[in-house]
C-alpha cells in the first residue's frame, strides 16, 4: 500500500449552529497533485484551515506523515512541512518582496539549506524560480494581482514544505497569467512537493490534478479522476444548483 502523506479522517467543524464540515475523509499520497473543488461556501477553505492549523477541527483526525497534528498550533505544522498560500493575498505589507521571504526562511529552520548559502541568496533564488527576481526590492503593497499571487506561492515555498496548499491562487487572473502560475506549480511538483490545489478555474484543475475531490455543503460528494468528476451529475448539480 502506498504511503499516505496527509491523512484526513472523519473531520468535522461547526461554527455555532452551522456545520461547515461533516465527516470529511481524504488520503493524499506523497508527490500527488490533488485538486479540491466545490461551490462557494462548500467548506474548501475551512478544510484547508483545519489542515494548516488556522482552525481546530472538533472531531476526526489529521495525520501528517503518520503523526497526529490536529492539536498542534499552525506554526508547528508549517515547521513540519505544510505550507499554504492565501485566497486573498496577505503579504507582509511593510516589507519588500525579498523581506517577505526572509520571514519563513528565518522561522522554518532548514539545516541543509542554511549550510549552502545565506538567507538572502536563498530568497533571491526562490524569487528567480518564480519570476519575481526583478521585484525583489519593491514594497510588497505595490504589486499587481498576479505578482501578489506569485509572492504568496514564493513565500509558501520559502518554508521548504513537503505539502503545499494553493488556495485559489489563480482567481481573477487572465488566461496567460493562469498558465504562468500553473507552470510554477508543475515545476514545484516535479521537485517532489505534494500539492493540493483549490480552484474554481476548471481547466486549470483538470490539467493539473491527478485526483479530484468535490465538496458541497461540507461533505464530499465525489472523488476520482478529473474527467470523471466533471461528468458527475452530483457535481454538476452542486455547481449549477439543481
Amino acid at each position: 500500500m502506498e504511503k499516505t502523506l496527509l491523512d484526513i479522517s472523519g473531520v468535522s467543524k461547526h461554527f455555532g449552529g452551522f456545520a461547515a464540515l461533516t465527516d470529511v475523509s481524504i488520503a493524499i499520497a506523497p508527490g500527488e497533485r490533488f485538486g479540491l473543488i466545490g461551490p462557494n461556501g462548500s467548506g474548501k477553505t475551512t478544510l484547508i484551515n483545519c489542515v494548516t492549523g488556522t482552525l481546530r477541527n472538533e472531531s476526526g483526525s489529521i495525520r501528517f506523515d503518520g503523526a497526529e497534528i490536529s492539536r498542534l498550533p499552525a506554526y508547528r505544522r508549517t515547521r513540519l512541512g505544510i505550507a499554504r498560500s492565501f485566497q486573498i493575498p496577505r503579504p507582509f505589507h511593510s516589507m519588500t518582496v525579498l523581506e517577505n521571504l526572509l520571514v519563513p526562511l528565518a522561522f522554518v529552520p532548514n539545516r541543509e539549506f542554511l549550510a549552502r548559502s545565506g538567507v538572502e541568496e536563498q530568497s533571491l533564488e526562490l524569487l528567480n524560480s518564480i519570476g519575481l527576481a526583478d521585484k525583489a526590492g519593491t514594497q510588497s503593497n505595490q504589486l499587481s494581482q498576479v505578482e501578489l499571487r506569485k509572492l504568496e506561492l514564493a513565500r509558501a515555498m520559502a518554508a521548504r514544505p513537503r505539502l503545499l496548499i494553493s488556495d485559489e491562487a489563480m482567481a481573477g487572473l487572465s488566461g496567460s497569467e493562469v498558465d504562468e502560475v500553473l507552470a510554477i506549480l508543475f515545476k514545484l511538483n516535479d521537485t517532489g512537493i505534494t500539492i493540493i490545489m483549490i480552484e474554481h478555474i476548471m481547466q486549470a484543475v483538470m490539467r493539473f490534478s491527478q485526483r479530484v475531490v468535490c465538496l458541497d455543503a461540507g461533505r464530499i460528494i465525489c472523488e476520482g479522476a478529473p474527467a470523471a468528476i466533471v461528468q458527475n451529475a452530483e457535481v454538476q448539480r452542486a455547481y449549477l444548483g439543481a
Partner: protein, 291 residues
C-alpha cells in the same frame, strides 16, 4: 461582612434594576463593536456627552427622558458622521488600520472628556424630575423610584432595538452585513451605508442611555472610564453581536456589582466589571451567545 438574606435580596433586586440599565448602556456598543467590528472605546464618552446634553435641556425645563428622546435624532447624525470619518480614514485602507483605529477612538474619547471638563468643569451635575428623590416601599425594602423608571425605559429601549433588528428590513440588513458582507453586496445593498445607519442608531440609542445615566445619579466628565469597563464587559460576556446576550450579561454584571457593593464596600465595586471581563476573556472569549 454581615451576611443576611434580606441584604442579599435587596442586592439582587437592585442589581436587576441596575443590570437592565447597564444592558441599555451597552446595547449601542453591541451594535457598533459586536456587529460592526468598530473598536469604539469612545462609546461611553459619547454617552456621557448625552448625559450633559440632557442636563442642558433640563435647565430649560425638559424632563430628562423626553430630553433623551429629543436628542436621539441629533446623536444619530453624529454617529453617522463619526462612522463615515472612521471608514474613510481607516477601514477603507485595510487591516493595517487596527492599531490606529483603536488609537483614534481613544483620542476621540479624550477630546470628548476634556471638552466636557472645559465646558462644565469637573463638578458633578444632576437633573431633577418628579421621580427623582422619591422611593417606593416594597415590603421591607425601599426602592428609589428613579431606578424603577430607568429600568422601565431601559427595558423598553432594549426591546425596541431587538425588535427593530429582527423584524424590519433595515434591521435585518444590519445583522446580515455583520455576518456576510460579500453576500449583501451581491444583493445590491451598499454595506457602507448600512453600517453607517447602524452606527447612527447605536449612537442615537446612547443619547437616551445618557439621559438614564444622569437620572440614576450625578455625572462627571471622567465617568466614561469606568463605563468602558462595564460596557465592554457586558458586550464580551454577551457574545459579540448578541442582543439577548446583552440583556443577560447586563443583568449578571448588575447583580454581581450590587452584591459586591453591599457586602464588600464601594472601594471594590469598580473592579467587578473589569474582573468579570478578564475572566470571560480568559475562559470563554466568545461569551454566552457568541457567534
Amino acid at each position: 461582612m454581615v451576611f443576611s438574606f434580606e441584604l442579599l435580596q435587596e442586592a439582587v433586586l437592585f442589581g436587576v434594576l441596575l443590570g437592565c440599565f447597564y444592558a441599555a448602556v451597552s446595547i449601542g456598543l453591541s451594535v457598533s463593536f459586536g456587529l460592526l467590528d468598530v473598536p469604539h472605546v469612545a462609546h461611553p464618552a459619547i454617552m456621557v456627552f448625552g448625559s450633559y446634553c440632557t442636563y442642558l435641556l433640563g435647565l430649560y425645563g425638559f424632563d430628562p427622558i423626553v430630553a433623551g428622546i429629543v436628542l436621539m435624532p441629533a446623536f444619530f447624525l453624529l454617529g453617522v458622521g463619526v462612522y463615515r470619518f472612521y471608514y474613510e480614514a481607516f477601514e477603507k485602507r485595510g487591516s493595517e488600520a487596527g492599531v490606529r483605529g483603536i488609537a483614534f477612538f481613544f483620542g476621540l474619547a479624550l477630546i470628548v472628556e476634556v471638552g466636557l471638563i472645559l465646558a462644565f468643569g469637573v463638578d458633578q451635575r444632576t437633573v431633577e424630575a418628579d421621580y427623582i428623590g422619591k422611593s417606593l416601599s416594597l415590603g421591607e425594602m425601599r426602592i428609589p423610584l428613579r431606578m424603577l423608571v430607568a429600568f422601565g425605559v431601559a427595558l423598553v429601549l432594549m426591546l425596541a432595538l431587538m425588535l427593530y433588528l429582527s423584524k424590519t428590513f433595515t434591521g435585518r440588513a444590519i445583522k446580515a452585513v455583520a455576518q456576510d458582507e460579500p453576500a449583501l453586496r451581491l444583493m445590491g445593498a451598499d454595506p457602507v451605508r448600512i453600517k453607517q445607519w447602524a452606527f447612527g442608531i447605536a449612537t442615537g440609542v446612547s443619547a437616551l442611555a445618557g439621559a438614564l445615566l444622569i437620572i440614576i445619579g450625578p455625572v462627571e466628565p471622567g465617568m466614561d472610564r469606568v463605563y468602558i469597563g462595564r460596557t465592554f464587559a457586558v458586550v464580551v460576556l454577551a457574545g459579540l453581536g448578541s442582543m439577548t446576550g446583552t440583556l443577560a450579561a447586563g443583568l449578571i454584571l448588575g447583580i454581581s456589582e450590587s452584591i459586591v457593593l453591599m457586602h464588600f464596600g464601594a472601594s471594590w465595586a469598580p473592579a467587578v466589571a473589569f474582573g468579570l471581563l478578564l475572566i470571560v476573556l480568559g475562559i470563554r472569549p466568545q461569551g454566552l451567545f457568541g457567534r
